[in-house]
């Protein structure tokens, strides 16, 4: 079947990309001269502590990000006429882009001892970690949950109005059931993002009390040079996420899909409208403050001299190249996976559909350091790895972007499939034509969102490029890090602002170009 083949191909590639490097690393463990640490480390109190702290901070971060996000997304959904709505939603895509080290500085600018809302020493610890994680993930969750409101049929809104439902009842009968499709996936994604968060935890965490699995893996691979241990820890992290994924996805209800026109619901009372606006304002302020601090720090710095550096422009070119290529690759892979998954869901094989989605999402949890180093091990006997920097970085970033594609595109594809698949079969609308006349116009918006998100994510990536990059192939994120390491903190601030502005521009452009400029409010 033409759906199954490309999907299986993608799945095979994913498995290969994740498992082969790990196998390569494990294989190293048996070479003479390398230490193979005793693998019964689960008896270590230290590792137990690391494990539990990792889970605890990720869980808390996920809850504190997603629960308010639901309220904020709802506020956006119920206020379609809000001025600057589109601009605000674009702003919400930015935190994802910010490299962790810049984010840490920004959070400190706002909440540190000399900041606008000084928290003093209590910032360093779980508080700081949560603040930073919510800054990253609340806007993302809002962006991912918002389209769900579009899935509510128009007549349901009318009915609710006629039956005299109040706000709570509308939530209970209309909104919550639709949300249940997307919510578990979003929680899982945020959990994974927070679990693998590295620089934030290490710097804002206050000390080794706040060590996570990701740090332990980093330590094993770099400082101890114990590849076997690193792989085992990575597998442990993977296993942990699988467990969480199974639990959250069990809670997911794929709704009975009916052919529906969407509608914009009317707010119930002026009080509700005011509350919604207050919520949106609060979220905007929370997200905006650190971003604003980046801007302010930058304007203090040597803007002109940074702009006139040739390295900067080369970095911008590299950044764009990597971002766009990674997005293209990621979205293509995700597309094939999701088409297959949508077909499965439609045919009633919900478990199969969920497994496919899960496979695409879970790869995020394997640390890029492990994949990168493993790839290096596999490739270096055969090719000069430095020639392959860009393809490797692009492919790893594409891998990291896949869960986002699945979150953005999944629900829309499923609905689209349920509505129109039979029609397509009956008029033999297949392949390219089907894409051009059916999927492109109807899936443009979530597709645009997915491409835009993955692009800016890859543009802001520091972890992967730092493994292989050299100044010739530097991206903006790497440039910032290099500047920071050379006392050039004002310059780094300017470069960080440039990165943010570039990402904002690219995001807006992609969303507009691909997503289209329809009047649809989602």
């Amino acid at each position: 079947m033409s759906r199954r083949f490309p999907a299986f191909l993608v799945l095979a590639l994913l498995a290969f990309m994740v498992l082969a490097p790990m196998a390569g690393l494990l294989n190293l463990g048996s070479l003479p001269g390398y230490e193979m640490t005793d693998l019964r480390f689960w008896e270590s109190a230290y590792l137990r502590r690391v494990f539990f702290f990792s889970v605890w901070q990720a869980l808390l971060s996920a809850l504190l990000s997603v629960l308010p996000a639901i309220l904020v997304a709802r506020a956006f959904a119920l206020q379609p006429d809000l001025p600057l709505r589109r601009a605000l939603l674009r702003l919400f895509a930015l935190p994802l882009v910010v490299p962790a080290v810049v984010a840490v500085m920004a959070v400190v600018s706002v909440y540190g001892s000399d900041g606008w809302l000084p928290l003093g020493r209590s910032l360093y610890g779980l508080n700081g970690i949560l603040i930073a994680h919510v800054f990253f993930n609340l806007p993302l969750a809002v962006r991912l949950l918002l389209p769900q409101w579009q899935a509510i049929p128009r007549h349901h809104w009318l009915l609710a109005e006629q039956l005299g439902m109040n706000s709570w009842q509308r939530w209970r009968f209309l909104e919550w059931p639709m949300l249940r499709e997307a919510l578990p996936g979003v929680v899982l994604l945020v959990f994974m993002l927070c679990l693998t968060s590295f620089a934030v935890v290490l710097t804002l965490g206050g000390g080794p009390r706040s060590t996570t699995l990701e740090v332990a893996i980093y330590q094993s691979l770099r400082f101890d040079f114990d590849p076997a241990r690193a792989v085992v820890l990575a597998l442990l992290q993977l296993g942990l996420c699988l467990l969480v994924a199974v639990v959250t996805l069990k809670l997911q209800r794929l709704p009975e899909v009916e052919i529906a026109d969407s509608a914009t619901p009317t707010p119930i009372t002026a009080l509700h409208k005011a509350l919604d606006i207050a919520l949106i304002l609060a979220a905007t302020v929370y997200v905006g403050m650190p971003l604003l601090s980046v801007l302010i720090d930058a304007l203090d710095g040597p803007v002109l001299s940074v702009l006139s550096s040739a390295t900067l422009w080369r970095s911008i070119a590299n950044t764009l190249l990597i971002g766009l290529s990674a997005a293209l690759l990621s979205v293509s892979a995700g597309w094939f996976l999701l088409r297959y998954s949508a077909g499965l869901a439609y045919a009633g094989h919900t478990r199969g559909a969920r497994l496919v989605d899960l496979a695409g999402s879970i790869v995020y949890v394997v640390p890029p350091l492990v994949i990168g180093t493993g790839m290096f091990v596999l490739l270096s006997p055969h090719v000069d790895v430095f020639d392959w920097v860009f393809p490797i970085v692009i492919s790893i970033n594409a891998l990291m972007g896949l869960p986002f594609v699945i979150r953005c595109l999944g629900p829309a594809m499923r609905q689209n499939h349920a509505r129109y698949h039979r029609l397509c079969l009956s008029i033999a609308l297949l392949g390219w034509h089907r894409f051009r006349y059916l999927e492109w116009p109807l899936l443009r918006r979530p597709l645009g969102l997915a491409i835009a998100l993955v692009t800016v994510l890859a543009m802001g990536d520091l972890g992967v490029i730092a493994l292989f990059g050299s100044p010739a192939s530097a991206t903006l994120a790497l440039l910032i890090y290099q500047q920071l390491g050379a006392y050039l903190i004002p310059q780094a601030a300017v470069t960080a602002m440039l990165l943010l502005l570039l990402c904002l521009a690219v995001y807006a452009l992609l969303e507009r170009l691909i997503g289209g400029n329809s009047d649809a409010t989602y």
Partner: protein
């Protein structure tokens, strides 16, 4: 009695053809509205229900003006062609929502819901979900909810369009019975002139945003002096 006087409306989208309706329906009567697509039939129902705001004019129910009231305050129940039910709730709950959206029903209300379901032959199915029912059964549930709400006006917006002729006839008869029993006022929009024949002693032909003709159903369908009506009906 439902009296619509000089009810005016125009959509925001250009070119906006202004619409103006005048209508009268007696208690216990079902008035059928026929006419081509885009003529304003559904718009009229939406205006009565309050989903659309009229520019001017009045809607009087037993001499009481309702055009200023919010949707939930109007004595109206509406049945759509689809999406009348919440797919994740069982039939009983779907009907109960019509009585009290908080779903806190007293024993009298519970009885009323049970009775309504029984009246429509759905008693055995009350714990099922809409996904498990046929189209006809789903529309019955919607009718049960309308019944249980005991509102004066019953609007049917192509509610039976997706059903087979026998089922349609059966449900229309049922609607007639309910409307007569409860002294309700019914407005039925349909594309099937036969539906009008079964449902209504009188029917109205809506065209270009106005009530172009109103007469006894059989006569209306035979009328020859309205070219637009002839175009719509074709050869029957």
């Amino acid at each position: 009695m439902l009296l619509i006087e000089g009810l005016e409306f125009a959509y925001d989208v250009a070119p906006a053809a202004p619409m103006r309706f005048e209508l009268e329906v007696a208690d216990g009567e079902v008035l059928s509205l026929i006419g081509p697509s885009g003529s304003g039939k559904s718009t009229l129902l939406n205006l009565v229900a309050g989903f659309l705001p009229a520019r001017s004019g009045r809607i009087l129910i037993d001499e009481v003006a309702i055009e200023g009231l919010a949707v939930a305050e109007r004595p109206v129940s509406i049945v759509f062609q689809q999406h009348n039910l919440f797919p994740h709730l069982d039939l009983y709950t779907n009907v109960a929502l019509g009585v009290e959206p908080s779903l806190r029903l007293d024993s009298v209300q519970v009885e009323a819901v049970r009775d309504a379901l029984a009246r429509l032959g759905l008693e055995q199915l009350q714990r099922r979900k809409p996904g498990e029912l046929s189209g006809g059964q789903r529309q019955r549930v919607a009718l049960a909810r309308a019944l249980v709400r005991k509102r004066k006006i019953l609007l049917l917006d192509e509610a039976f369009a997706a059903l087979g002729p026998a089922m349609r006839a059966e449900l229309i008869e049922l609607v007639k019975e309910l409307v007569r029993e409860q002294g309700m006022v019914g407005l039925l929009v349909s594309h099937q002139p036969r539906d009008a024949l079964i449902a209504s002693a009188r029917s109205a032909f809506i065209c270009d945003g106005q009530v172009a003709a109103s007469a006894a159903t059989a006569e209306l369908l035979e009328q020859t002096d309205l070219p637009k009506l002839r175009d719509y009906l074709g050869s029957m």
